[in-house]
Amino acid sequence: VGCGSKAPKDGDNQPAPKADTSWQDIKDKGEFVVGLDDAFPPMGFRDKNNEIIGFDIELAKEAAKRMGVDVKFQAISWDAKTDELDSGNIDVIWNGLTITEERKNEMLFTDPYIKDYQIIIVPANSPIKTKADLAGKKIGIQAASSAIEAVEADKETFDVIKDNLLQFDTNDMALRDLRGGGLQAVIVDEVVGLYYVQNHPNEFKVLNENFGMEYFGVGLRKGDKAFQAELNKTLAAMKNDGTASRISEKWLGKDIINK
């Protein structure tokens, strides 16, 4: 301890909670960094030029514009997302991030903006009809994703399939593997799954059963309340004036914005 510094004594009047400067910091920086899984079409993925594009990307860009700052995109490893956030490498996670109870302990979320399901995709000619049929089948799933959380929550199913879950870093690999015959099913976010199924017509079907409904929200560092408020305000405005719906129609073919 340097000689000039006064160490606060325990039990003394608690230091007032540090003023939340998160929004100010972003403004000072002039930009915020979005962390994302860059193989998660159509929410965030790479085009032919290796540029990151997608629904969430466009949404984030629009929001940034309205907030008067720049936005940068940083591909991250999905299982490191919380740590990337905490370490300050990124400022938000904005890429089909599911709001879950567990994650609420680790980060802040904005208001939900899209409703989503964890669906089960199987080949078109597959005999699999229900969750129960998944027993003994090889099932692809993204590592550290909300899909895993959703499956784990369904105790009954989880117990029969847990030994056959193959964890991929990204969903595109799991889906490709399914198509190639290396897997018999993939559990994935509906938005992504449907996009893939539509791009490969007649090859797949989606089971009627799923692992439950969820919402997407933007994730922020714990404590970044001011930034969260600002984002919520901007997102609400985008929903209200129809911008969000327009973007939804462009990327998802229909308006599924959660108003």
């Binding site: 550290a144 193959l166 490709r176 593997d177 198509r179």
Partner: protein, 213 residues
């Protein structure tokens, strides 16, 4: 400590995957490497050239890329192979290339005098190879082959990328979920153990062949 015990089952499972990959690759790559090493020195030039091209291709590109190629690549062109088959294909073909190079240079390291002595004694080329050259080559290549085998121990971690839950993926999953470095430390210990065992084995092999020099 208790945490470590709860980790063990899944780490051990991952380890089994690693070990299995290790042994199966070795069993196929070693003999293939010998044959390819000899083929590279063949007097039948097209064969020698083909082997040279082969070695160049497989040693000049990352095993990771080869692994992706055999798994997704074959899939993409509609060839259906099991995940395990693709993995073994990638590893065996890659390691055979490295081993071929070792055996080739092992054969070339045998002094000309050995060939000449066999020649003046009237041994045939085949006899010279099997009775004089190869036995000496096997002894000489023990250290570099040992190095490759240690590399294999470590390269098994690569199958990670095609969603096989071997040791390092098991470690990663736990580390991320539980926010701790312990799984990495345990995985590191497993790898160190394996490399140490391999090293000891090759030392022993070397000492076994120490009756001549």
């Amino acid at each position: 400590m208790e945490y470590i015990i709860t980790l063990m089952p899944s780490m051990l499972k991952g380890w089994t995957v690693t070990l299995q990959l290790f042994f199966i690759v070795l069993i196929f790559a070693l003999p293939l490497g010998v044959v390819m090493g000899i083929a590279r020195l063949s007097h039948f030039k097209p064969l020698a050239w083909f082997m040279e091209l082969y070695v160049w291709l497989f040693r000049g590109t990352p095993l990771l890329l080869q692994l992706l190629f055999w798994y997704f690549g074959l899939m993409v062109i509609g060839l259906r192979v099991e995940r395990e088959t693709a993995v073994y294909l990638a590893f065996v073909l890659n390691y055979a290339a490295y081993l071929a190079e070792i055996f080739r240079s092992g054969i070339q390291s045998i002094e000309k005098g050995q060939y000449e002595a066999a020649d003046v004694l009237g041994l045939s080329q085949r006899q010279t190879m099997t009775k004089i050259i190869l036995p000496q080559v096997f002894k000489r290549v023990i250290p570099p082959v040992g190095n490759e085998v240690i590399n294999l121990v470590k390269d098994t971690a690569l199958v990670y990328v095609i969603a096989i839950s071997e040791l390092s993926r098991a470690a990663r999953i736990h580390a991320v979920r539980d926010d701790t470095l312990i799984p990495f430390a345990i995985a590191a210990l497993f790898y160190l153990l394996m490399t140490a065992v391999v090293q000891q084995f090759f030392k022993w092999l070397e000492s076994r062949l120490d009756y001549y020099r």
